[in-house]
């Protein structure tokens, strides 16, 4: 019997023969390499470089009645549609606007209704109509989003004007305040002099002044209070209300001994009110109308550049495409060439051939992955947050998983062109379902199953975690990729055994033969 060491040597020798042969074959076909790797890379590179994240210019016309004040503010209104809106005209009839849309002279028409005041007075909202010529659902939804935003902007501007007008009259609001403060001072003096008549007279002045103040302040103060309620904070309360309550309290017979304290509080209430009015005047109308604004930033200070974001996807996708195609092609080629006939007569086993092929594809896949990453580093300044060896392992997993898929696909392909077609279909499926363009989370759960049948899905998720978060991919992704590689590898082995192994007796036949012997 052969010595175990010799058997291992033999197996190693045959596996290495396939490794060397497959590697040489690939590097001897530069056109194939260019077609499979450089071609798709250049396409994606051009796309990445040429893609403009800014929405395209929208030529905008505003349709408003000639007597409308809005017509004069068309530029402002168009600007409210977003930075992409470019005002190309102000019209008075919708028909004109539609003609411009039809001829392509305009992309968007903002139609202001003619009876705004009457409609609002009637308790209904006036409708601003946005017409556009966008047929791309994505662009269409972008226009609708901007349109809604523009209408909100118009509403805000109207409110801001109202508030600004209110602020302009704030001095008038505070006019009764000095009289109230004088009355409180007189009441303090009357209490000190125990002059009941003077006290009542001053109290009557105070009540009159406070009522006048209440009438003037009510509208603007409500705005501030409403802000407090919307933010669920404690309502600040109105200094004026407190002053009115304290003034009422002075009329009670049982507070005679506490008048001095109540008056001191009242004096404070009026000072607060004076401060409130000054504050109200000082607040920007825009802040009063839109007290909140949003600011977003990546958690942990992560700010992923648009181009960098796609690098893990490009690397995963291309490495998958290459490993899968080479694996499928190499087996189909051997079948069409007839080499499998020779293998079946030789001592070669399926495992040896597969080991050699896997090794060759791993080397080629890692080299291509390294080249793509190096190009990304030098061209785009890409630098993963996590260690490079994690990054390398993730690429290795993609190569292993993809090869298994390639070998299985080769079982279905009868010719080399069929193998290439299957590889291209897989690439197409991967572009849509692997999370390259749209997140897999946006797919229905049932469809996400397709995503996890694609090696690049694991690669993209793993590389994004490593490159942007600097963390190890989730255990589900790692185990998923490993399991995927094993299952596909086992299928590939079964397939390879069938291919390179000659006809053999079945177990039953062997058993019968032995029994007969």
């Amino acid at each position: 019997m052969a010595k175990p060491v010799e058997r291992v040597k033999g197996r190693f020798m045959r596996a290495m023969a396939f490794f060397k042969k497959d590697t040489l074959e690939v590097f001897r076909q530069p056109r194939l390499l260019i077609t499979l790797v450089v071609g798709p890379f250049l396409i994606l590179f051009l796309f990445g470089v040429g893609f403009n994240p800014e929405p395209p210019v929208l030529r905008t016309v505003v349709v408003a009645p000639s007597d409308s004040g809005i017509a004069e503010r068309s530029e402002q209104l168009a600007h409210a549609l977003g930075p992409q809106a470019q005002l190309v005209g102000t019209l008075t009839s919708v028909e004109e606007a539609e003609a411009m849309l039809a001829s392509g002279e305009a992309n968007v028409a903002v139609v202001i209704p003619s009876d705004v005041v009457e409609t609002v007075r009637g308790g209904e909202q006036a409708v601003i109509t946005i017409l556009h010529d966008q047929i791309d659902p994505f662009e269409s939804s972008v226009v609708e989003l901007f349109a809604q935003s523009a209408v909100d902007q118009v509403n805000r501007e109207v409110l801001e004007e109202v508030v600004a007008a209110g602020q302009g009259r704030a001095a008038e609001i505070g006019a009764p305040l000095p009289a109230a403060q004088t009355a409180v001072g007189a009441m303090i003096d009357a209490v000190d002099a125990n002059d009941r008549v003077a006290f009542e007279s001053s109290r009557a002045d105070l009540i009159a002044s406070l009522d006048e103040l209440a009438r003037r302040v009510a509208a603007s103060d409500a705005v501030i209070e409403a802000v407090g309620e919307q933010t669920s904070s404690e309502p600040s309360g109105s200094a004026l209300d407190s002053a009115l309550a304290n003034a009422d309290q002075l009329n009670q017979p049982d507070v005679r001994d506490e008048r001095a304290e109540i008056l001191t509080a009242l004096e404070q209430n009026l000072e607060d009110l004076e401060a409130d009015i000054e504050n109200f005047q000082a607040i920007e109308p825009a802040v009063l109308v839109s007290p909140f604004r949003g600011e977003s930033s990546g958690y942990g200070g992560i700010d992923v550049d648009f181009t960098h974001y796609y690098i893990p996807g490009v690397v995963s996708l291309l490495v998958q495409h290459l490993a899968l195609t080479f694996a499928a092609l190499s087996l189909v080629r051997e079948r069409t060439l007839g080499s499998v006939e020779l293998f079946r007569v030789s001592p070669l086993s399926g495992a040896e051939a597969l080991a050699g092929k896997y090794l060759a594809n791993v080397v080629i896949g890692l080299l291509v992955g390294a080249a793509l990453t190096a190009a990304s580093v030098f061209a785009f300044g890409f630098q993963p947050e996590g260690p490079w060896w994690w990054y390398g392992l993730a690429v290795l997993l993609v190569v292993l998983a993809s090869q298994g898929l390639g070998f299985v696909l080769s079982a279905l392909a009868k010719t080399e062109s069929q193998a290439v077609q299957y590889a291209m279909i897989t690439l197409l499926v991967s572009i849509f379902f692997s999370g390259f363009f749209i997140s897999t989370a946006r797919l229905l759960p049932a469809v996400q199953v397709v995503s996890y049948l694609i090696p690049a899905t694991y690669g993209i998720k793993a590389l994004q975690d490593i490159a942007f978060w600097g963390r190890l991919p989730s255990i589900e992704i790692i185990l998923g990729a490993v399991l995927y590689s094993f299952v596909l590898g086992a299928l590939a082995l079964a397939f390879m055994r069938r291919r390179v192994t000659a006809a053999q007796l079945s177990r039953k036949q062997r058993r019968l033969a032995r029994a007969a012997a």
Binding site: E341, L342, A503, L512, A513
Partner: protein, 396 residues
């Protein structure tokens, strides 16, 4: 690839059960370069082939032969043959395949398999090498059913397919290296071995040429080198000389004869009927059936009905004289080939030649020449196939 019998037989059992058919590769082959010019010293096949595993079903010394279907086991006693088959059949579709092949190819011989295209020559090789399984029949190759070949058994085989199966993107040398690895030729000494083989097939100077840039003839030569690289004991060569020039064809056959003299067995198919002359035994295949199997001379006899003698007289014979000539020569057939020239099919050309001289003298006839005629194998082949057709037609 499953190692069917590996580990199933102990060393002691193996030493008892190993048959004479088994080639002992327990030691690296001792090669004498004087005897074997293509096997320089130091060329070794990995010790994987250290022992031909002799499982319960593979011994040929009076043991049970494994049948390839599940019929009751038939006890047969095969001869000391490299290839032995009885009733071997494989039908691919009704009427297409190989049927009832009986083969008995001694070790150390060249067996030629001749037949027209599509007659089943390649299918037979695929059956004998275990690439495909037969539907029925018994088969032993090197004492073992091909369906039970393990990697060690396979290392004794060499197979040259009909078409080039090597890699166009590799150089000739790299292709040969690949074939050497496939059959576990040790790295030590391999370089020299590869060089020798390239030299043998006149490809040394083109060793760095890509196969796709090599001519058809070069590709056939390389395929032969790849088949011989591991010094197989039994070679299956499927039309090795197809598409190559006559000079190289002759060189190939010289090489095959050398290999035979080294004790190797060669099973070779060819469409060049004339090459049958180089074989020890020839099988003629037509429509999947072996219609004749014999030595080249035996085939001639079968085809012509005996030996052929050309007799030329000084002048043309009369009908009566011809009748007496046929009677005197005990000819089974005759043919007039010109004035005074006759071709006779006789039992023994040597005996008849001497008798004819006496007969001519006694009958006052002058014989200018009496020569045995060797009909070309093309004629032999056509005759055999035509005869089969006639027989089949008469059988209805």
């Amino acid at each position: 690839m499953g190692d069917i019998n590996e580990g199933t037989v102990s060393e002691a059992e193996r030493s008892e059960t190993e048959s004479p058919v088994v080639i002992d590769h327990s030691q690296p082959r001792a090669v004498n370069p004087e005897v074997d010019p293509i096997a320089p010293l130091g060329m070794e096949v990995l010790d994987e082939a250290a022992a031909f595993p002799a499982g319960e079903t593979e011994s040929v010394a009076g043991d049970v032969v494994t049948t390839i279907d599940e019929r009751p086991q038939e006890t047969v006693t095969p001869t000391d043959s490299a290839v032995w088959a009885r009733g071997l059949s494989k039908e691919f579709e009704p009427g297409v395949g190989v049927f009832d092949l009986d083969l008995d190819i001694p070790k150390g011989s060249i067996f030629g398999f001749i037949g027209p295209s599509g007659s089943g020559k390649t299918s037979t090789i695929r059956l004998l090498t275990g690439i495909i399984a037969a539907d029925s029949g018994d088969l032993l190759v090197l004492g073992k059913s091909p369906l039970e070949f393990d990697r060690i058994a396979r290392s004794y085989l060499g197979y040259m397919p009909q078409l080039s199966v090597l890699y166009p993107e590799l150089t000739l040398r790299q292709n040969l290296n690949f074939a050497a690895s496939l059959f576990s030729v040790r790295w030590r000494g391999r370089r020299r071995r590869v060089r020798e083989m390239l030299d043998f097939v006149d490809l040394l100077s083109a060793r760095n040429r890509l196969l796709r840039n090599a001519s058809g003839g070069m590709q056939r030569r390389l395929a032969l080198a790849a088949t011989l690289i591991h010094e197989p004991e039994l070679l299956f060569l499927d039309e090795p000389t197809a598409g190559i020039d006559p000079v190289l064809r002759r060189k190939f056959w010289d090489r095959f004869i050398d290999l035979k003299e080294q004790g190797r067995t060669i099973f070779v198919t060819t469409q060049y009927v004339g090459e049958a002359a180089y074989c020890d035994k020839v099988g003629v295949l037509s429509r999947g059936r072996l219609i004749a199997i014999d030595t080249p001379e035996g085939l001639r006899r079968q085809a012509m009905g005996g030996e052929v003698l050309d007799v030329r007289f000084e002048s043309a014979l009369t009908s009566e004289q011809i009748s007496r000539l046929v009677e005197a020569a005990r000819a089974t057939r005759w043919e007039a080939r010109g004035p005074g020239e006759y071709r006779l099919v006789v039992e023994d050309a040597g005996d008849v030649a001497a008798d004819l001289s006496e007969w001519a003298t006694a009958n006052s006839l002058v014989v200018e020449s009496v020569e045995p005629y060797q009909p070309p194998f093309d004629d032999v082949f056509v005759e055999l196939v035509t005869r089969l057709d006639v027989e089949e037609e008469s059988d209805g």
